[in-house]
Each structure stands twice: as C-alpha cells, then as structure tokens.
C-alpha cells in the first residue's frame, strides 16, 4: 500500500477504532465492486464509521491528505456509483443502521443512511404507513444509497422517486463539516440537487423521509397479449384514459421464457407479451378504474386476463416479473442490464428497432420494462466464453441507448450514470450542460475528492484553489445583516 494511505489508515483507526478500519488486502477485496460487477477496483482502505461525527472526521482526514473517498451503503447499485478507488478510502455506512425517530402525526421518520429500505416500511407498517420508493433491491439496499441514486422502483409511476420522499438530509460536506439540507428551509434547494448526485456532493448521515399512508386497497391484473405491440397499445390506452396506475410492467416473450425456466411463474402459454397492471387507493376509486383497465386490455387484444384475488395471488403475478433479471441467467451464460428511458408513446417504434438491432447482430435481447413511464430494461444476452461476444453485446447495448436519446429519452431512468455511463453523457447533454452541472460540484467539492470519476466524463476545473481563502469574502458587509 502507498505510504500515504498507510499513514491515513492509522489516523482513521485512531478515529473509529482499529476494528473498523480494513487494510488487509484479502478483506479489502470484498468491497471491490457494487452491483455492477464488471467494474472492479480494490479500495486502498475501508472504514466503517458509526456516527455522523466519525464520518465528518474521516472526510476531514481524507481532505487534509488529498485522498479521494467513496461512500458505500449496501453496494447494490447498478452503475458502479460506489466503485472504490484503489488510491482512496471507501466509507461504508453499514454500521449506521438506526431508525432514530418515527413521527406518525407528522408523517415522517428520521433514519441513518445504512438503514435498509424495507426496514423503514417494516417499522412503520403497524401504523398504516410505508416508505414509498421500492427499488427491486429494497430488501437489501440502504436509504443512503437511495438518496445518492434517487432510486425509483416499479411504483414510482404514481408515487415518484426518492427525491419526492426525502424531506431533509444531514450531510457531511467535502470540507468535513456537517450541514443540514432541507427542502423547506430558506435558500437554495440544495437537497434537491444532492439527492441523485450519486454521492459526488457529500455523504448523507441522517435522512428525514416522508411516510406514505398504506392505500386502502390494491388490485392487480396480469394480461397476456399475442404481441409486444398489442401490449404497448394497452399501456397507451390506459394512460390515455386518465388512469394513473401504481405500476404498469411489461415483459416480452424471451423474458417470460426465462422467468418460466427460473421460477415457473406459469404465465399464459404462447404470450408475446404480458402486462402487469396494479391500481391502489381508496376502494371505490380502484373498483371503478380497475374495470376500465380490464376492458382496455381486452380491447387491445388481451387473450387472457388474470386478476389477483388476494395477496398470495398478487405475489404469484409479480413473481415472474421480479425474478426476470436473475432468471435470464437460466437462458444465457451472461447478460448486460440496460436502463434507458423513452417517451411512452415511442414504445412501439423503439421496440421494433431493438428487434431489428437484435436480428442484425445476432445478439438476443430480452425486454423487461416499467412500461408506464417508458423505462426500458433490455437484457442483452451473450456467452462470455465466446471471443468477441461481450463486445458485440456492449455494442447492441450502446445502440439501444442511442435509440433512447434519438427519441428524446434518457440514458438512465433509475440505475444512475456512475462509471458505467459517464461516456454516454455527452450524447445526451452538451459540453455547456455538463459544465453547468459541474458548477454545483465545484461549489460543494472544489478539490474533487468526493467520489471522483463518476457521472461526468471529464471533471471541470473549479478555477479556485480549495482551502484557504484570502482577502475579504465578497459578501462581507452585505450579508448576515439579519
């Protein structure tokens, strides 16, 4: 290890205790990637602080030493946002798992960043509340990670993303100071830009989340169609009718085949696509709208509709969808998960183009998507034992992103940019756009030590030496009058 890191490791041990600093190369390797396993880097040092003050002290040590650092929650991210630096410190929040406060009358809870997403819901469910963001990894992902990635999930179609459910964050700034960012406090909405900044603006140490009332009722149906086009037409018809479902999910024939092989979800045989539509809310609303949804699906050509009679049947319907990613492993030795977004109305054209891409290249693509908000998760299949196969799959995966951009969409709907997609950012944004975003980063982290190398393909020069400021502050005499 670099002498500089060795010395820093010793100082970190003095701060948090030797048990909570890892420098052993074998143990360090446990942390060499997040959920995006094709990017790996063994961190220089891993530290597991227990309190916000310790996180702040660790960041101050890193800043003083000029060493980069990366925060990590549960390591479930899919864009390499928590990919460590070999020359830096990985700050792991897994000891900070306390739910500090539950305020039902105020419909909020205060949690530490390492708290597991689903544990928030478990803690408040007895009061009739839950934490709405529901990324697929919610059983293991952390709320701090949700904040960094602005996580969504199947139900964000109706309920919005993490940004809409976080009221305030205590953060450790890249100066190593504790600051309170709140959507309601006077001044800039720094919270709004911090959430979803992928850990590049600081580390959150305490999160006030909004709690959502559990809906009175939930209704779920599964509709099977001959083709993907017919399923897409049903989605358009439902949204066009003014229905806002809690979720609309779609799978194509190949992903159904994979799910069948993996979990025997017993979706209707011969389906070219299946749609899962879930409505929730007050009983009389859901009853009326659910009948509309059923009719619209039939009108669009659904040859079979199954309605979940209870939670058990609902779980059965969701089983195939929820297992789809992992299930693809049953029909292909390896695969890439893509995360593009298109305007919902472009769904038929884009899917046809993906089909064509697949046919031209001979690379199979299984389509699973959050159809209601146009968020595609094409799974690009390849055999990693075959020379050049991964490169061909990468090429198809990149071409799908180009399709999304061409149709006015986005290169990522929920997985984030991280290290995986920073090279695609210039296809979606101009140099000036990216430069402007990085002005925020320069404000927070002029030294560029906080999760560097993520989101942006090239760092912006902040035009100011961090640290000591000389001369009077430009606001001196004008500000803090009150």
């Amino acid at each position: 290890m670099e002498p500089r890191l060795t010395a820093l490791g010793l100082r970190l041990e003095a701060l948090v205790g030797a048990d909570w600093v890892i420098t052993d190369p074998v143990r360090l390797r446990t942390y060499d990637c997040d959920g995006l396993t094709n990017h790996r880097a063994t961190p220089g040092v891993v530290v597991l602080p227990d309190t916000a003050e310790q996180v702040a002290a660790v960041v101050r040590e890193c800043a003083a030493a000029g060493v980069p650092y990366v925060a990590r929650g549960s390591g479930t991210g899919l864009s390499g946002g928590a990919l460590p630096r070999t020359d830096g410190v990985l700050i792991v929040t897994s000891r900070m798992r306390r739910i500090l406060e539950i305020d039902i009358p105020g419909q909020r809870a205060v949690v530490e960043p390492g708290v597991i997403n689903l544990d928030v819901t478990r803690a408040v469910r007895p009061y009739g509340y839950y934490f709405a963001p529901d990324p697929s990894s919610q059983q293991i992902c952390s709320v701090g990670g949700n904040v960094a990635e602005n996580s969504g999930g199947a139900h964000c179609l109706k309920y919005g993303f993490t940004a809409h459910h976080v009221l305030a964050c205590e953060v450790v700034t890249p100066d190593g100071e504790l600051a309170e960012l709140s959507a309601d406090a006077p001044g800039y909405d720094l919270l709004g830009v911090f959430v979803g900044a992928e850990g590049t603006l600081g580390i959150t140490t305490k999160i006030t989340v909004r709690l959502t009332r559990v809906p009175e009722t939930v209704q779920t149906l599964l509709a099977a169609f001959d083709s993907i086009e017919a399923g897409g037409a049903a989605v358009s018809a439902i949204i066009g009718a003014g229905v806002v479902p809690a979720a609309i999910e779609m799978m194509d024939a190949l992903s159904i085949e994979a799910a069948e092989a993996a979990v025997r979800c017993e979706y209707p045989p011969g389906a070219g696509s299946v749609l899962i539509v879930e409505l929730d809310g007050p009983e009389p609303e859901v009853a009326a709208q659910f009948a509309d949804v059923e009719r619209l699906c039939r009108d669009a050509g659904a040859f079979e509709i199954r309605i979940a009679a209870d939670d058990e049947e609902r779980a059965l319907i969701w089983k195939g969808r929820k297992s789809a990613f992992a299930a693809v492993g049953r029909i292909s030795p390896a695969y890439l998960v893509q995360d593009g977004v298109i305007p919902r109305t472009a769904l038929p054209q884009v899917l046809a183009r993906i089909d064509a891409l697949s046919a031209e290249s001979g690379v199979r693509v299984a389509n699973v998507f959050h159809a209601g908000d146009g968020n595609l998760h094409p799974l690009v299949l390849f055999d990693d034992a075959e020379a050049g196969a991964e490169e061909r799959a990468e090429a198809v995966s990149g071409a799908i992103l180009d399709l999304c951009i061409e149709h006015g969409g986005s290169i990522t709907g929920e997985h984030g940019v991280g290290v995986d997609k920073s090279r695609y950012m210039p296809r979606m944004f101009t140099e000036t756009d990216l430069d402007t975003m990085q002005m925020v980063r320069c404000g927070f982290d002029p030294a560029g030590l906080c999760n560097p190398g993520k989101v942006f393909p090239t760092p912006r020069l902040c035009g100011e030496v961090p640290g000591v400021r000389k001369g009077p502050h430009p606001y001196e005499g004008k500000a803090d009058l009150f």
Binding site: A179, S182, P186, A288, P343, G409, G443, F444, K478
Partner: protein, 398 residues
C-alpha cells in the same frame, strides 16, 4: 457602445426603464424583452460584457417578494417568451416558455384533459416566476411543488451560455437535477427560459368537504383525522377563521363515496360542496405575508400562538401562510415573526416573510435562520461569480 445600443443590436424590444418598474423600489436602467432563446442568450451575453446587474421579470406578481436588489441595470422581461412549445399528451408532458401565464397553460392543457398539478395563488403569474419562487398551493399535499413537477429546464447562465438539464421524460436520473436547484432560486442563478413539466389527467370528479372548527385543538384533530384516514385527499387545508376543508379528486362514484366517508370522519357539522370554500388556494389577507412550515402537528401551536383573529392558512402537508394587516408597525411584525419562529422551531420548522411594506421590511429579519448558507454562497459564486444576477434579492445577501 452604450449598453442600450448593444442590447438593441441583439434584441428587438429594448428600452430605458421607468420609475414605475422599480423592483422593490430599485429602478431598472434598461428593460429588454427577448422573444426567443437565442435572443435571451444574446441579451445575457451583452449584459455580461457590459457588467450589467440583471433581474428577470415575469408578470410582476411576486416581484415584491424577497429583498430589494442592490442594483438593477437591466430587467429581462419574459412576456414575449410565452409559447407552449410542446404538449405531448400521450406522454403526459408539456414544455412551456417562462413568460407563459399559468392560467393560459392550464387552459391549453385542459383541452386535452390534462393539467399541471400546481395551484395558481396569484392570478396572472407566469411559468418562470412560479418556478423561480417555488410557488404552490393546496395541491402540494399530493403533487408537491414545482421541484416535483419540473422534469427539464433550459436556462441562460450569467455568461450568456445556454444550459439544459433533465429532459422530456419523467423518469430520468442522468446528471444533476438543476431543475430542482432553480426552483425557488429567485433569479439569482440564471435566467429560466423554458421548462418541461410532468402533467396529470384532469380528474373526472372533484368535491370539497368543509367543517367548522373551534380552536386549535379542534382544527388539529380534524386535520389529523383526515390525514391518517384512507380517503386519500388531494389537499387538506385549515382556513382562518375556523374552517377545515378537504379536497377530493377521482371518478364520480369514488369521489361521492369518499366525500360521504370524509364527512363522517369530520362529524355532524361537515358539509359536502362542489365548489371551493372562500379563501381556498389564495394567500390570506394582509400587507405582510409570512410563509410558515413545520410538520403537520405544528398547526396546534401555530394557531394557539396566533390567536383566533389572525388571517392564516395551513396545509396538511405542513406549509401555511400568515397575513398581517396594513398598519402593523415594524415592531409588531418583528414580534409576531419572532414568536412564530420560536413556536415553529420546536417542530423544526421556520417562517419566511414573502412580502411586507417597505418600512416593515427594513426592520425585520426576512429569511430567519439559514442552514447551509456557506454552501449556498459557494454554489452562487460558481454560477454568478460577479454577483450580477438579482444581487441581494435572496438569502444572506445572495
């Protein structure tokens, strides 16, 4: 070349400012009204070259909010930037220019059964001004404020460069969300030129359920009862001098059933109505307007502190307004403000003065405590290193 001439070369509508156009009393030297993004960028570039302090102006409905600018060399008026650029109804998305009045946007969207789910507390206000002040009304309980509904933003920076963030899809985590940063930034970071919004369908049916309440405890109980019930209200409001009103949206049968259910929850003096009660979605009367926020249960302390006569509204989302009458002395206002802040601080809330007569404004702390002010200054310094964008209009002299 004189600034006026330099601006006139790039923008078709440039003239000297008039005394009546003062921003909180600060008269602009020049007024420019660009008609499109290119002109707006050119105007901002010329302003940078000439070192002009720039204050953006929409329909002037909230130009008296905040604190006076230190100087105002150029008002950039957005009234010619008033187009609805795109309404992609199938995608529930619309892109509108900053100067488009909110009501006109609403009318155009309604033609295809859709809406931007933001109230318009001040008639005539524009898209850009609504974003710049983060304005919202009762619907914020369910749909949030501009920060929740802006999905893409085009701005012109202090140096005249055009920058975009977000896009035209709702689900998008590519890059920093500058849209949220610009919401409520009072024209101090850049000129907002257009915005793309997430839309919602116009509900097929709506209803209001109102009920008279007597005193803080009663008001608190009524609001809490509705908040924790399954009726899924789109808004729950307390309106002085003693009404709790619930707004329901949905399908006709659903709304009717839920209205009955809500009325039962609120007790025997609850009434169901098709139209909104007086004062709904408007700021309370008075010449001083104070914006208050705290978790919903703070309502009890708020009303106890204010007393029964005060003009106030409070949303179940934990946000409200207090109006103080004309003739209140600076000391009176400072006293109320101080006690409000004390009461709300117990709930980790706060109070900000939106507008007040000049003699009052000079004698009070408009913003109150500002956490993270040092970070805000650093962000401001990056966007506007010369402090030419609405200088002094915002917190801490920003």
């Amino acid at each position: 070349m004189r600034p006026l001439d330099a601006l006139a070369k790039v923008c078709g509508d440039v003239r000297p400012g008039e005394p009546a156009e003062g921003v909180l009393g600060v008269e602009p030297a020049l007024v420019a009204a660009p008609k499109n993004l290119a002109e707006a960028a050119d105007v901002m570039r010329v302003a940078a070259e000439k070192g002009l302090a720039v204050v953006p102006r929409g329909a002037e409905t909230r130009l008296d909010w905040g604190t006076p600018p230190e100087r105002c060399d150029l008002l950039v008026d957005t009234h010619r930037l008033d187009g609805l650029i795109e309404h992609a109804a199938g995608d529930l998305v619309a892109k509108a220019e900053a100067g488009l009045p909110m009501e006109r946007l609403g009318e155009e969207l309604a033609e295809r059964g859709q809406r931007l789910a933001l109230d318009v507390p001040l008639p005539g206000s524009t898209v850009g001004g609504t974003i710049a002040t983060g304005a919202a009304g009762p619907l914020r309980s369910l749909y949030g404020t501009p920060r929740n509904l802006v999905i893409g933003l085009t701005i012109v920076r202090a140096d005249g460069q055009v920058a975009r963030s977000g896009g035209k899809v709702v689900k998008n985590v590519a890059g920093y969300d500058l849209g949220r940063l610009f919401c409520g930034s009072y024209g101090t970071l850049g000129l907002i030129v257009d915005a793309t919004f997430r839309l919602h369908p116009v509900p097929a049916a709506t209803a209001y359920v109102t009920c008279a309440v007597s005193g803080p405890e009663d008001a608190h109980d009524a609001v809490q009862t509705v908040l924790h019930s399954p009726v899924a209200a789109s808004a729950v409001e307390y309106l002085s001098p003693g009404t709790v009103a619930v707004f329901l949206e949905g399908v006709p049968d659903g709304v009717a059933a839920r209205a009955r259910q809500t009325a039962e929850l609120l007790g025997e003096n609850a009434e169901v109505a098709e139209t909104a009660p007086d004062g709904w979605g408007r700021y309370p009367d008075g010449t001083t307007l104070i914006d208050v926020n705290a978790p919903p249960p703070a309502l009890r302390d708020l009303l106890t502190m204010l007393g029964p006569e005060a003009a106030a509204t409070w949303s179940g989302s934990g946000h409200g307004h207090v109006g103080l009458p004309a003739g209140s002395s600076p000391d009176d206002v400072a006293d109320v403000l101080g006690r409000l802040r004390d009461a709300l601080a117990r709930h980790r809330g706060g109070a900000v003065v939106r507008y007040a007569p000049e003699e009052v404004r000079g004698g009070i702390d408009v913003w109150g405590p500002i956490p993270a002010l040092a970070l805000m200054r650093r962000v401001k310094d990056q966007f506007d290193p010369d402090h030419r964008l609405s200088p002094g209009r915002f917190v801490g002299g920003i």
